[in-house]
Amino acid sequence: MQRIRIIFSGEGGQGIQTISKVFVTAASKQGFEVSYLPSFGVEQRGTPSVAFITIDNKEIRHPKFDKADIVVILGKRAIKTVENYLDPNTELYFDSSTISKGDLPIFVSKIHGVPATKYAKEKFALRSFNLIVLGVIAKAIGIKEELIWEEIFNFLSKKFKKKEDENLAHEAFLFGLEIVPETEDFTRAIFKAKHQAILVKGHGKHGTILPDKCKGCGICIHKCPVGALSLGEDLGVFSTPIPQVDLEKCIGCQNCKNFCPDGAITMEMDASA
């Protein structure tokens, strides 16, 4: 096997470093030489998080590289960070249900779409989407399935509170092994925040909700004194559900406006009412 240089990238909090660690430990147990360089900012989450991985049969003397053979992009904001590591021969894997193809650099020709978020939401838990991607990459490189699952269990067993969680994660990983990545017709990026504001009006009240600002923290729902807010169908910037308003219950107190840390919501009474 020739040397393979891999980049996993996404937003902090998506589990990029976790799946990278799982991947390199499993590859090392299979007898390869590996190197792993994590790179992320000081923030706890929300900024690009990148892992540089090299796998080889021979000893690796220098872990850094200029161009990657395989790049995995799971968050739109990570594209800028990894752009310099792409060249026309790079195999690019991306989450086609959260990123549209138009956002990717034009010069890359070998593009594979994996609608991981969509599958994870429909079939498993939303959080397990990174395991689906891990399955896809493990199959592409040829790392043994049992070794990877062993490592997933080592790293994540603390997070599995019930046996069901563990089974669901295992199923998600096995499902990832079987996916054939899209190469032409990509899934539409449905799990993306809408850019236009949602305007609500009626019962003498009006308001605005901005999906591309909402991070889904739930403070507005907790702080609404009459329980007029609840989680809705639309998605915010971190693919979390955004609040919806029950206009009949709303009293226009503006608690949501005062508490929202992201400036994503306001509700008020009409001037005439």
Partner: protein, 245 residues
């Protein structure tokens, strides 16, 4: 129907803070206070290290990024050169009460006309939730996994401490983001004390940290109400009333 204050820089939103971060609420009320006083064209804000630094591109006015704990002296120097501007020093409890305490005490002691805003969330959030001076007895953090031991002392009462040495004209208050409109009122009083009274002012804002507390919105505000009991809010020094001294 604006969802955000006018002085927020809309290009940099959604901002870099975690979902549900108390900094967002505090900076929102600061934005509304500046909007209502109509001073956005003559305001400068200095940002400390820590989670507060993520506000470096938050506002549509001049912002200075300083060293850890050194936001107060930097902004004091700025104010000396530009006395007509309204100068804010924005920091977390680690920057204010641990590494930057002497700077803050001396700014209050000399009555330097700046406004210090301290966001208090009981721990060092950016580095992973370690114990801070402000951690309450018995509180669990990543370096006190069984709760803060009693021999580590009580929580740190910053505003009360600084009020002891502050000039009588200084304005010192503590508010909590569980009452956002009170935060706005105190921030307005502090800014007015800087402008009209030419004196030091400081507002401590009790805040929440869902990421490091590992809590959801409801649990966060329950814990915040406990913190509010331990660190009682209110105006500790009311600047204007003591102005004769």
């Amino acid at each position: 129907m604006e969802t955000m204050p006018k002085v927020w820089r809309s290009k940099s939103k959604p901002h870099l803070f975690c979902p549900g971060c108390g900094h967002g609420v505090a900076l929102k009320q600061l934005g509304f206070a500046i909007d209502e006083l109509k001073i956005s064209d003559k305001t400068t804000i200095g940002i400390d290290i820590g989670c507060s630094l993520l506000a470096w591109n938050f506002f549509d006015f001049d912002t200075v990024q300083t060293h850890h704990g050194r936001v107060t002296p930097t902004m004091v120097g700025y104010k000396m050169m530009k006395p007509k501007r309204t100068v804010l020093a924005y920091m977390g409890d680690g920057g204010a009460y641990a590494i930057g305490l002497q700077s803050l005490i001396h700014a209050a002691f000399r009555n330097d006309p700046i406004t210090a805003i301290v966001v208090h969330n009981d721990l060092y959030a950016m580095t992973g939730g370690q114990m801070a001076p402000t951690t309450m007895p018995g509180e669990v953090t990543s370096t006190t996994p069984t709760g803060k031991p009693e021999n580590f002392g009580p929580g740190f009462f910053g505003p009360e401490l600084i009020a002891n040495v502050a000039n009588p004209k200084a304005y010192i208050a503590r508010a909590s983001i569980s009452k956002p409109l009170l935060v706005k009122q105190y921030l307005k009083n502090a800014l007015l004390n800087q402008q009209k009274n030419n004196s030091f002012s400081m507002v401590e804002i009790m805040s929440i940290c869902p990421t490091n507390w590992k809590m959801n919105a409801k649990q966060c505000f329950e814990k915040l109400s406990q913190m509010d009991k331990y660190y009682p809010g209110g105006e500790i020094k009311k600047g204007n009333e003591n102005a004769e001294n």
